[in-house]
Symmetry: C2
Subunit: 149 residues, 2 copies
């Protein structure tokens, strides 16, 4: 998982056109103010321990949310962050799990749709903690036994 | 080089605070409308053929500019696109060369400063050609002879 977190004054998007792998139904537009944008690219190695990757991603998002004192999160699929993408169905399932876990943790969460061409506008606050990127991989013990070689 | 190209209604930035590796002097703020934003992260392997990487990057930017019929380019350093960054002085030199080459090719170019915490606002158009990402590496023949092993 390639993750880019941006503390924003606002993030808004509008789904414009479907790709072959468009998620449907979906929320065709959305806006959050004073929100953490979590740009996510689920990657093929994540398949070896997707639950662990989801947990690590949620932990990284919650940690930054705490640091910048911001409770709102926009989960935004962003395939352009990686050149080794997971299969679409795995990616959508992971993004939904991230959304659910953040919601359960008490965050106000929205999620932009997967597989749509989307217009978006964003304003990054620019303070020293306002941008963070991270590469997340399944931790050793999470990798399913038969996968170990 | 990790490159992310976004066709925007506008891009604007404001330098907020220096990091240890801040470029100085620099243009502390900038805005372009109807512009291609070239988010660039110069990477350590690029050192083996930096001129070639600069040429490939300029070619990729010009190619997209032609496709979306947009002559304006904002070169925007964005280290968060990579986890294998080149040394700062190599990165700044490469970004300046990209800016110069785009200018010579007749583009209207601005360049956000390297090594500053910056606020920025951006509006991505969202049409099917509005976003492109690419990993660029020194091509074989560009790699300096004594580097070949
Ligand atoms: Mg503000
Ligand atoms: Mg517009």
């Amino acid at each position: 998982m390639r993750l880019l977190l941006i503390h924003s004054d606002f993030i808004e998007y509008e789904a414009k056109k479907k790709t072959k792998i468009a998620e449907d139904p979906c929320s065709p537009s959305g806006r959050l103010e004073e929100a953490l944008v979590a740009f996510c690219a689920v990657e093929s190695p994540d398949a070896d321990g997707i639950d662990d990757v989801v947990n690590q991603t949620v932990a990284a998002i919650s940690e930054m949310a705490g640091k910048v004192e911001c409770n709102r999160v926009m989960v935004y699929p962003y395939a352009h962050l990686s050149s080794d993408l997971a299969a679409p169905d795995l990616a959508v399932a992971a993004l939904k799990s991230i959304e659910e876990a953040l919601d359960k943790a008490g965050h106000e969460v929205k999620r932009a749709p997967f597989g749509w061409y989307k217009s978006f506008s964003l304003s990054c606050k620019g303070h020293p903690l306002s941008e963070l990127s991270r590469s997340i991989t399944p931790s050793e013990d999470a990798v399913k036994p038969e996968k170990k070689h």
